[in-house]
Symmetry: C2
Subunit: 504 residues, 2 copies
């Protein structure tokens, strides 16, 4: 077998004979490959041994080893819990189809080129360096497909995105001492036909990339001779459905892009591009009425058309409102909130009133042992008497922080391993304190609402000062120095040179 001879050759020690095509340079066969086969064998010994024991994957830990925390997801909640876990006492295994955390509040800015895509994504290996170095910690590019709480194992399947010639996906199991669900939510479509097929959500970097490619494609196509006036106007009609912070910020960024960049770079078609924001109720309903009014005025001033309506049906290049009106579009962005994903719905756990994984006040899934749920995928059980918290980054992050502290203290008290937490004091329950809300509305303007709830008193301001607060707050919350630096540089170059419009 020539193939296996090459594979052997690839780890052969210096001075071993090679044959055929490889012999020409054989005397150069160099040190980086020659001293490492022993280490390589050792590094993969764990997985193979366990396979040998008949466990297809990462087998249970023993008392002498570090306990294993398995985290499902790399969003705000999952990233924060992994960042704060004490890796002297725990091995961390993350199972997720995404190897980075996305800084979601800045995602809207990447669609129009204000920020680079890379600036809003933080690789997990930077968030928790042990993941790539510690022998028992791993990032596994896979989806969890099921859980067996009695056996303390999860079932997983690798993710390959259908990349050509990639390996066939394979299944494996991971045994856990503690299991953390942080697998997030799914965009709500309310069962409206055509949304998934024709609209673009704004939750992942690849969504932002698709929006950007689509927008630039439409701008360029509308300049090509042979297109009618009506088609041109349709192609350049950007419709956003949903007037929450995401929809409003995206509309603001888009109108800013149109007023500053399209006017200059696509002067031929600048009069055909329009943004329409469709919302069934009030925009930014979580903000106070004064800020809402300010946002409304600001959006209208920058050319965003606000429409109150309910979408009934989405077709390839037009949508139908509940009053029968047809709205043609060239780009449709959908941001009407989030709900429980099919995976969460399929889990054999009690649920919160809105269908998320039900947790008690310590963020535990009470029907089973050693299982926790944080972030958008979880909600307080009705029996706790607490309201389900909103699906916000700050909720998820605070829960991740709390849970890491809990798990660290369990571990220190000797309750790190499976089925051993009963001996440990669970400490105070998780309490959420809302720090306030922020949203940009384009043209260097933002809203900042520092009240703890809609009813309480506090600071709520709008305008350029808010915009500065918004940028500073986000800059200090972006996870690493590298990304903070990149975001600052992106903002600076956009200010100096305008946004980038290459369609790559």
């Amino acid at each position: 077998m020539a193939a296996s001879s090459l594979l052997r050759a690839l780890t052969r020690r210096r001075g071993c004979a090679t044959s055929g095509a490889f012999s020409h340079y054989q005397h150069h066969l160099s040190s980086p490959f020659s001293t490492t086969s022993a280490a390589a064998a050792a590094a993969s010994a764990g997985a193979r041994d366990e396979a040998g024991k008949g466990f297809p994957g990462l087998g249970p830990t023993t008392k002498g080893e570090k306990a294993r925390v398995v985290v499902l997801g790399t969003g705000w909640a999952g990233a924060r819990v992994m960042k704060d876990l004490d890796t002297d006492g725990y091995d961390v295994v993350c199972v997720s189809p995404r190897n980075h955390m996305v800084f979601t509040p800045l995602l809207a800015s990447t669609c129009v080129g204000t920020l680079e895509f890379r600036s809003v994504a933080e690789p997990l290996a930077r968030i928790q360096p042990a993941m790539s170095k510690s022998p028992g910690s791993h990032f596994l590019l896979a989806r969890c497909t099921g859980v067996d709480p009695d056996a303390h194992t999860i079932d997983c399947e690798t993710v390959t995105d259908g990349q050509k010639d990639a390996l066939e996906p394979w299944k494996f199991k991971v045994a856990y001492d503690k299991l953390v669900f942080a697998c997030g939510s799914e965009a709500l479509t309310f069962g409206i036909r055509g949304v998934t097929e024709h609209a673009i959500f704004l939750r992942e970097v690849h969504h932002a990339q698709e929006i950007r490619r689509r927008l630039l494609l439409n701008l360029m196509l509308s300049e090509v001779p042979g297109i009618s006036e009506d088609e041109k106007r349709k192609l350049l009609h950007c419709v956003v459905v949903g007037g929450g912070p995401t929809g409003v910020e995206f509309s603001g960024e888009l109108s800013d892009f149109i007023m500053r960049d399209v006017k200059q770079r696509y002067a031929h078609v600048k009069d055909y591009i329009h943004v329409t924001l469709i919302e069934a109720n009030e925009i930014l309903s979580s903000f106070d009425v004064r800020l809402r009014q300010y946002a409304t005025n600001q959006l209208i001033k920058s050319g965003v058309r606000l429409v109150r309506g309910i979408v009934k049906d989405v077709q390839p290049n037009k949508l139908i409102l509940d009053n029968g009106e047809e709205v043609p579009y060239g780009l449709l962005v959908w941001s009407t909130g989030v709900g429980a994903s099919p995976f969460v719905k399929s889990l054999p756990f009690p649920k919160s009133p809105d269908g998320r994984i039900g947790v008690d006040e310590w963020l535990r899934v009470p029907s089973v042992r050693d299982v926790y749920a944080i972030g958008d995928c979880s909600g307080f059980l009705e029996s706790t008497g607490k309201e389900v918290l909103p699906a916000l980054a700050q909720v998820a992050e605070r829960q991740g922080k709390y849970l890491a502290q809990q798990l660290n203290s369990f571990m220190k008290a000797g309750g790190g391993h499976a089925n051993s937490e009963a001996t440990v004091d669970v400490g105070p329950p998780f309490v959420y304190k809302h720090l306030g809300s922020m949203a940009t509305v384009g043209r260097h303007k933002a809203l900042v609402d520092l009240r703890q709830s809609k009813e309480s008193k506090g600071i709520s301001i709008a305008g350029f000062v808010s915009f500065i607060i918004w940028r500073s707050a986000y800059l200090t919350r972006v996870v690493s120095w590298r990304n903070r630096f990149y975001v600052a540089i992106n903002w600076l170059t956009t200010l100096l040179f305008g946004r980038d419009i290459s369609r790559i």
Copy 2:
């Protein structure tokens, strides 16, 4: 028709009544839309009028108007000619499936995250601002499908990349006064089966993106339990075919990435990743023997396996060499040089000895009037007695510069319009002076060969000083200040923080 009523509403003047869903905010209908419908109508008048005249596209110019230069392509040659054309006298129309120029010598660096993709792409609108502002200049996202030199027109078809819900491609014509072919070349596969299907070229930004996604996918999959030692080694075997500057620079970047970043960020699998460079002859055959030897030693030192061999067949996860040896791979990059594209072959013009569009010493296509060809798609006709120039960025750029000067001087002498150049002195022919060659070989080392040809004397140096020269030379040649700035920032952050490994 509700749809057309919305379209009408979108350009309606302030104060007009709207109906249905739009009435709620109608009193806010704002100024940006209200004053521009006249301008919009004027802006598109050109195309519509011509369509009215029965010309489906951009019709011929008249003596009173600016003459129109049509450039096919946005590579080094096309970008340079458009940058230098005098837009006071010419309208510039570019037809290309890509709205940006790619700074090809830095493309290899983007595959491993040393540089951002955006840093090596320059939007055409920045290279020639008239393209987006001047009423008669346009960038058209389309492919040229044919040319009628007698009628002075080209046939085009729009490009939509199969983006979902995009408009159906449509056909149109563009009349030219001067036509410049700058449509580049195609990667050579020598008819080897499977190359196009399984290998990745390294000529466009999307190639670099694919290589990066593939590399990171393989690194992550190889850590998932359930993969065998052999599969892991195969998955992490990166094979580069072709030892020219592109292949060598990519191999160097890759081994640098492995030694610096994989060792840190993918410690679990670092001993399984290897780079093999396959070349049928000498690597870097255009450099002198001393530099070649230096490059060979440097590559071997950084762990690149050099193999002399000819690839006979490429299969999904292995390739077969001419001696029958099988080489399994997880990533296959193909860079064995370039040749004439099918479009160039299909053109009804005489060809250079190697099948490119044949030109005379003034870069004219001699059999027809007002047609020029520059860059990789063109070559001197045998009758000129000159050798075909190599397919290099510096040849293409120099030809673009020369041709712009020629066209500008024709225009000033009254020969800008179609069929009028006969009255004008053609000036001196194009003479190419080779400025030297550069290539990096990883680990902060580069080769610089400042001799005009392999036979002549001159400076040829290798090492760290060359690396500094290489970086400085490229920094000063990247087209805009914005990109120069970004490239410098990228290099700095890679130095400070290491490369980025998020797979987005």
